[in-house]
Symmetry: C2
Subunit: 237 residues, 2 copies
DNA sequence: CAGTGGTCTAGACCACCGA
DNA sequence: CGGTGGTCTAGACCACTGT
């Protein structure tokens, strides 16, 4: 019984991850292993199993039904999860692609510096992309990344999904603050989006954080005829 | 040890509620009773105390700090609370007003019926308003309410804040599904918003629910020069 | 050092469910 | 009835924190 905090936990983590995998592809409503079954399988106390399952229940992955068992939870209304453009498009059944227009190291201007919570002049990565879904142009995005958090990012080849790349570095944003408005397309936006200058575009400014670190700020202009943003607010019932 | 499910729990509930009260008015960062202290006070096992505290930690009321103790949690970033236009404007320090353009009983069309989760032809309340903040025109909104849920709503005089009126009836929305886009102002929108036809407007379609009941669906067109929508997504860190 | 939370054990009785 | 989750006990050792 060597308890090591450095490994984040121990037995209950083993049990939890075992169940998590079992449950990953399972149909909602199907039965999860019973607590006593897991006790036997892992040779562990029931309180330990319960501790493992508690986490999954809190996450909304499992449901406990007294007297019957533990089951894969039915999909609940979830408060707006933070998803990336790529994930968003895949969920809609579209193929996300992006074409890099700019990818270079720059010095942060005052606005970007404030948003990234760094000092003006600090190094940032500026990544400008034209993004498509099923070949159709959807938006143009200017993203700025805190260079200090992402050493060698530009050298490692630009990924398709920014959030995936951040996740690989343990910096996947878990929180975003969005400002949403509309405006008339600038000349630049219009030509990139292949719409008439002055026609409406949906503007999204995002500040994405991982924990307390601002990893990414971006400003995107969407073609409103091809993109509607969906947001859920409030407490899941 | 009389375990009664009908009372919702037992000892751990006692402990939990005791701590909850203690913590209610306490300053963030101040110490909560230690686990062993609660064990002594309630003559209960430590696992029971932990079970009680687990709930409060999950709720975000308490924070555990290994080796130091349990503390009243610092106010956390909260996932976008559902606020009404009126509340939103007040938070920004502006005076919300609205001018009713239409307020009448109608039969639900197919789109409204589906959104309200009722049948086409069912009675709905249609309320169209021009909304201002500090006298400045901000948006025009078409709202539809499920008449069955709100008997006599039209007769009771139209309130300033729809959400307040719904709250008075115990139907304050706690969940909303928003679809956000941009479009060119129609003739009607343009003349009401006092902008040029064809200029960009921010479109917000909202489906507001209280529990499982859809109480209100609306479609608003905002002047983008005077309104930016702010949204927080993800898990509070 | 003493105190804290983190983890774990090996049992126990209860209420509830389905067969 | 046997199996399930819900609750609870009375201990235990660990890693970490502050003094």
């Amino acid at each position: 019984m060597e308890a090591k905090r450095s490994e984040g936990g121990l037995k209950h983590v083993q049990v939890r991850e075992y169940v998590r995998e079992l449950v990953a592809g399972a149909a909602p409503g199907s039965a999860a292993p019973s607590e006593r079954e897991l006790v036997a399988r892992f040779g562990v106390a029931r309180m330990t199993v319960r501790q493992a399952l508690d986490v999954l229940v809190t996450e909304g992955l499992l449901e406990r039904v007294p007297g019957r068992g533990t089951f894969v939870a039915h999909p609940r209304r979830r408060v707006g999860r933070l998803s990336s453009y790529s994930e968003d498009m895949k969920v809609r059944g579209l193929l996300p692609e992006s074409q890099t227009l700019v990818a270079r190291r720059e010095q942060a201007g005052p606005g970007v510096a404030r948003a990234l919570d760094i000092s003006p002049g600090d190094a940032v990565i500026h990544w400008k992309r034209l993004r498509r879904a099923d070949q159709q142009i959807i938006c143009v995005e200017d993203a700025y990344l805190n260079e200090v958090l992402l050493p060698g990012f530009l050298q490692s080849g630009m990924p398709t999904s920014l959030y995936q790349a951040l996740e690989d570095r343990g910096l996947r944003p878990t929180w975003a603050e969005d400002a949403i408005s509309a405006s008339a397309a600038t000349e630049d936006e219009a030509s990139l989006l292949e719409i008439a200058p002055g026609s409406p575009v949906l503007q999204l400014s995002r500040r994405a954080l991982c924990g307390d670190k601002v990893v990414n700020v971006s400003r995107s202009a969407f073609r409103p005829d091809r993109f509607t943003m969906h947001v859920q607010l409030g407490e899941p019932s």
